[in-house]
């Protein structure tokens, strides 16, 4: 007979994929808080509360650092003087932003961080378009990284729909609902199949 406490559903869920260690520490503290609450042990609850506060600060710091890194990658790329070199730097920034944005979402850093990453990707796209290098995102359509591949396909859907639609569908089959890239791909497929074909002139 084991006296080991069964894992909570939430813990099982969180442990079923990559998870930020700070988030897991938070869960552990919450579980300890719950146990103390069940015992009516307010002293322990307050002690755990202080640890939770510290954990929350660490979590917020990590989110801020990630956003800073995302924004810096884009700002640095935009600052490159030579147009061709800038385009290269922007393409690198695109892949970096995709990976960091998806990692933020998977690590539980919230929809706000995810949306921040999407906005940075929009900036990269605008810059590439201004340089006449937007179509260069197609180099990512063969990327082994499904996130990068999927995002590139979404970004390119209006200028090369026939090429990207099979890629979008392939990603959609693999990615579950609500995953960072799955959200984009799911909506892009719907848009291509239900909207864009009715408006053939609405390309970029």
């Amino acid at each position: 007979m084991s006296d080991q406490t069964p894992k909570s559903t939430i813990r099982q869920l969180l442990e079923s994929g990559p998870t930020d260690p700070v988030l897991m520490e938070k869960l552990t503290l919450l579980e300890e808080l719950r146990a103390a609450h069940m015992k009516g042990d307010q002293k322990t609850m307050l002690e755990i509360g202080k640890k939770l506060a510290a954990n929350e600060k660490a979590f917020e710091t990590a989110k801020k650092q990630r956003r800073t890194a995302i924004a810096k990658s884009v700002a640095d790329a935009k600052a490159v003087a030579d147009p061709d070199a800038r385009a290269e730097a922007l393409l690198s920034a695109f892949a970096f932003c995709v990976r960091e944005t998806c990692a933020a979402e998977r690590g539980g850093q919230g929809k706000d961080t995810y949306n921040f990453g999407i906005r940075q990707l929009r900036t990269v796209g605008d810059e590439l378009r201004a340089l006449g290098h937007f179509a260069a995102l197609a180099q990512f359509l063969d990327s082994p990284d499904i996130d990068v591949r999927g995002f590139a396909a979404v970004w390119l859907r209006n200028i090369m729909p026939d090429r990207v639609l099979p890629i979008l569908k392939e990603v959609n089959k693999i990615e579950s609902f609500g995953s960072p890239v799955g959200t984009q791909v799911f909506t892009a497929i719907f848009e291509l199949e239900n909207t864009q074909r009715k408006e053939p002139d609405a390309k970029n």
Binding site: K7, K26, H37, L46, G49, Y114, I118, R122, W155
Partner: protein, 351 residues
């Protein structure tokens, strides 16, 4: 400081304490225990008088609230004060809405009544209250008065190790966690024990929240495990019935025994209503209530799944600068309905 209360009120207060003994050790209020605990108010009773004693800043704050009604901008005391004022003006219905049992309303001594209210509000956040476990009344998140679920450990989900489902629910679980820690816990003082009382209350709510999430997510996983469902199985009525407003829909669906709808036909209790075509934003202007508030458009979903769908709709989409929700609002009703159905299909809820 001595504090007199008439015998009848004292008896009623003891009755409220739900103790068949003469002494009671409470969350912040102890009666005749003979031990003065830091952060607690001790009421010592004799046939002639009642003596109220406190030790520490928390008890000083409690006694100040009890005797003078000073709330110190403390949300707990403010909630208690609102309930107390309702009782004082004879508005017992409002007091009940705060979750205050009638017996407290009958305590005539204002100081003792305020102490009872604080104890009541705190006890309602305690899992060891056999009658009213759960959130404190007047909780700002609107959950006041809701009952805390009994802790059901997670052993029933051991079989639910379907990777797909687990992966999908991670997002919901994580979103729930973010919500859990959103409380301003950094304001945890070491010396101001009066605030500690509120902090303990808040921490208690978070602990309860974790238990609620645990239960909800387990139920949601069961729901997914038993799916997918046909839309007819999910609908509250097979007839296409429209309503002037969502409140009207809820009013009728909440009326048990009503023949028009089956409340939560598949998903059991404790669920959210989901609009397949969302009711807010531009949709509220572009579509009629009859379109939006109908048995065709509204289905019940377990809370975590509803959260998952809402999180998807709140994601910014592509370079548009719009969320999926905003992007969708530019589509026709039929297209939005189709998108909503495809979402539920992708989620494994609808066949």
């Amino acid at each position: 400081m001595p504090d007199r209360a008439d015998t009848a009120a004292r008896k009623k207060f003891v009755l409220w304490s739900k103790s068949d003994k003469d002494t009671r050790e409470g969350t912040v209020l102890d009666i005749d225990t003979g031990v003065l605990r830091r952060g607690h108010v001790l009421v010592l009773r004799s046939p002639q008088a009642e003596l109220t004693l406190g030790l520490g800043a928390a008890s000083a704050a409690l006694m100040e609230f009890a005797q003078k009604g000073e709330t110190r901008d403390n949300s707990l005391f403010e909630a208690c004060d609102k309930a107390d004022q309702a009782i004082a003006r004879g508005d017992f219905e409002t007091a009940r809405k705060f979750g205050v049992p009638d017996v407290i309303s009958t305590i005539e001594n204002p100081a003792l009544r305020r102490l009872a209210l604080v104890e009541c509000f705190l006890a309602k956040a305690s899992p060891d209250d056999p009658l009213h476990p759960g959130y404190p009344a007047g909780a700002p998140d609107g959950r006041g008065g809701q009952y805390m679920p009994k802790d059901k450990s997670a052993d029933t989900v051991q079989e639910l190790r379907r990777l797909k489902a687990l992966r999908e629910f991670r997002a919901a679980a994580q979103a729930a966690m973010v919500v859990l820690v959103a409380a301003p816990l950094e304001v945890i003082p070491g010396v101001d024990v009066a605030v500690d009382v509120e902090t303990a209350l808040r921490l208690g709510r978070i602990a309860i929240e974790l238990g609620n999430d645990e239960k909800e997510i387990s139920e949601a996983m069961d729901f997914v495990k038993n799916g997918p469902y046909s839309l007819d199985e999910l609908r509250v009525s097979q007839d296409n019935v429209s309503f002037p407003s969502f409140d009207d829909f809820k009013k009728i669906s909440d009326d048990d025994g009503d023949a028009i709808v089956r409340r939560y036909p598949i998903t059991g209790s404790g669920n959210d209503y989901h609009h397949i075509v969302e009711q807010g934003g531009d949709n509220s202007n572009n579509f009629t209530p009859e379109q939006l508030q109908s048995t065709k458009n509204i289905i019940p979903l377990p809370g975590p799944i509803h959260d998952l769908v809402s999180a998807h709709y709140s994601s910014e989409y592509d370079a548009s600068g719009k969320t999926v929700r905003d992007w969708l609002s530019g589509q026709s009703f039929d297209q939005q309905y189709q998108y909503g159905m495809e979402t539920l299909h992708k989620l494994g809820i609808v066949k």
